[in-house]
Symmetry: C2
């Protein structure tokens, strides 16, 4: 099987070749812009990797990989408008570089372009199944974003609710990307489902890792500002666990820190992290994480593919999730 | 063939049965809201009517009809945000009744739901062709909206450019709706194309009629405020024709009326309409209109369907387009 780096390079070439050159320029320039500012191309690589488990001619799934990446970037574009985010991977967001209306409309055309690319899959008989997966996942991503927005103003969010939210907002797209790769690779229905569940569980573990790194990551290795979630009062798994495990004065202090806008940010981050440490919330979160990883590997075991290829996928998942704290 | 009223009633029942009951409520309530505030349901009726030309079991195309209506309402929802429109068919727009973020996200999920409904077509072998039509049309609608926005700040818009813009923004969806009905009705590829061209030309004539009515319609029959386009300096076919046909002082006056924000609205509408009358721009616009109608009928002639059914479609098109001025 190709290496991770090779998958990335193959996808990158396809992305370059498929820049949008259509008119009007005002509609498509922001699309090329957001697609150019990069990232690890995790989701399209998952489509290719998953296909390669069953069939190594991975050029077959490049249109689907591109569709998934365009869809993902559409969600980032519209989420950035909703969150009023000024930067995305260190660059101005589309609604800042252009304007909000451009962001809305260019996002809309990206979503449709994603569907359009999915239809370019050479084997037409696969199209209904691919659209079925894509539709389900795309709807769930919107639902996850709505739950995330709802949680901002709720103070009774439970851990199961939180896990469901990240499942919808993040994991199902990873899972769907892998399922689409499996479909194109002619996997059996059972294997396509195992691969979906593998991706879903890895995605959950990945998001929990993201929560942990946001508060406790090494500033040199972590791309974003450490403590950002705390500064924004985000109800991450760390916060929800702390809230559940704390009592009395400590609980009152934590609630106070998350509702007081006047406290100095550095001090707030420091104090919340002390409470997190005191309650060993990272250890609790890591327990969830390892449960998800175990479930993911159990699903992968069941897949009818070579041991060597499954090992490659397993080692990729480990790299992705078990990053240093 | 069923009457127009019957098609509307069949669609209305399906719409009622298919209200969105999914969670989270905050995401789907605005979707049901915008779908409930109605309109003539022109586009879904076109899907059904077009199918009925070839196959009268029109329940087959109800999911596609619904998909087209949901897509159309998604475009209205996002366009209303972009235009900062407070009202839609006399009711508060979604971003006013809820908020802008809700409008963006509920619109997004509507677009995906449209694709999802299209996949409910019973005959799976039709799905690739239906998605192909839908993708093309949906992309063109976004392009049309971008051209419309571009035209606001341009003062050199030509009539051919204007016609291309309304073709993209309005006509192709009518055309695509009809093509989808034809595909589901098992029409030949040639007939599906004739029906597409019929819909496209009727759509162009329909939009020109809309421009004429906006300035010269009977206030009692016309739903919106007469003169609204003039008040907003919209570059309609009437304005562009007037600009082309005027000279000297009159041209200068027209340009002045369209660029002076201080002039009292009633006076401005009155004076612009006098110039329009003087230059006989309605007659010129009607010439374009009747050319499009002729082309539409030529396409309909070629369709392999009963004379009686084609006559029903023709009389519908006449009702739609040739409304009293």
């Amino acid at each position: 099987m190709q290496t991770l780096r090779q998958f990335q390079e193959i996808f990158h070439s396809y992305l370059q070749e498929n820049q949008f050159r259509n008119q009007p320029r005002e509609l498509y320039e922001p699309v090329n812009y957001i697609l150019s500012i990069g990232g690890k191309r995790l989701r399209p690589v998952l489509v290719l990797m998953s296909q390669a488990l069953f069939d190594e001619k991975i050029e077959k799934s490049l249109p689907a990989a591109f569709a998934v990446e365009v869809f993902h970037n559409f969600t980032l574009l519209h989420d950035d408008i909703m969150d009023e985010a000024p930067l995305r991977r260190g660059k101005p967001t589309v609604h800042i570089k252009y304007d909000v209306n451009t962001g809305i409309l260019s996002g809309d055309v990206m979503m449709i372009a994603a569907y359009d690319f999915l239809a370019k899959i050479a084997d037409e008989s696969k199209i209904p199944a691919l659209y079925k997966t894509f539709n389900k996942v795309a709807i769930e991503v919107c639902e996850g974003q709505q739950y995330d927005m709802n949680f901002e103003t709720r103070d009774d969010v439970t851990i199961p609710e939180y896990l469901r939210m990240i499942e919808l907002k993040t994991s199902v797209l990873l899972a769907g990307a892998m399922q689409m790769g499996a479909i194109i690779g002619n996997a059996s229905a059972a294997d396509a489902e195992h691969i979906y569940q593998f991706g879903r569980n890895v995605g959950l573990a990945f998001q929990i890792q993201d929560d942990i790194l946001d508060s406790f990551g090494d500033p040199k290795k972590f791309g974003k500002k450490v403590g950002g979630d705390i500064a924004q009062n985000k109800k991450t798994i760390l916060y929800l666990t702390a809230l559940k495990q704390s009592k009395g004065a400590q609980k009152k202090e934590l609630l106070g820190l998350y509702s007081n806008d006047n406290i100095e940010e550095k001090m707030k981050i420091k104090r919340v992290k002390e409470i997190f440490r005191d309650l060993k919330v990272v250890e609790t979160a890591q327990k969830y994480q390892s449960d998800f990883i175990d479930k993911a590997y159990q699903q992968l075991e069941k897949v009818d593919a070579s041991k060597e290829k499954k090992e490659a996928l397993r080692s990729w998942a480990e790299q992705l999730v078990v990053r240093e704290v």
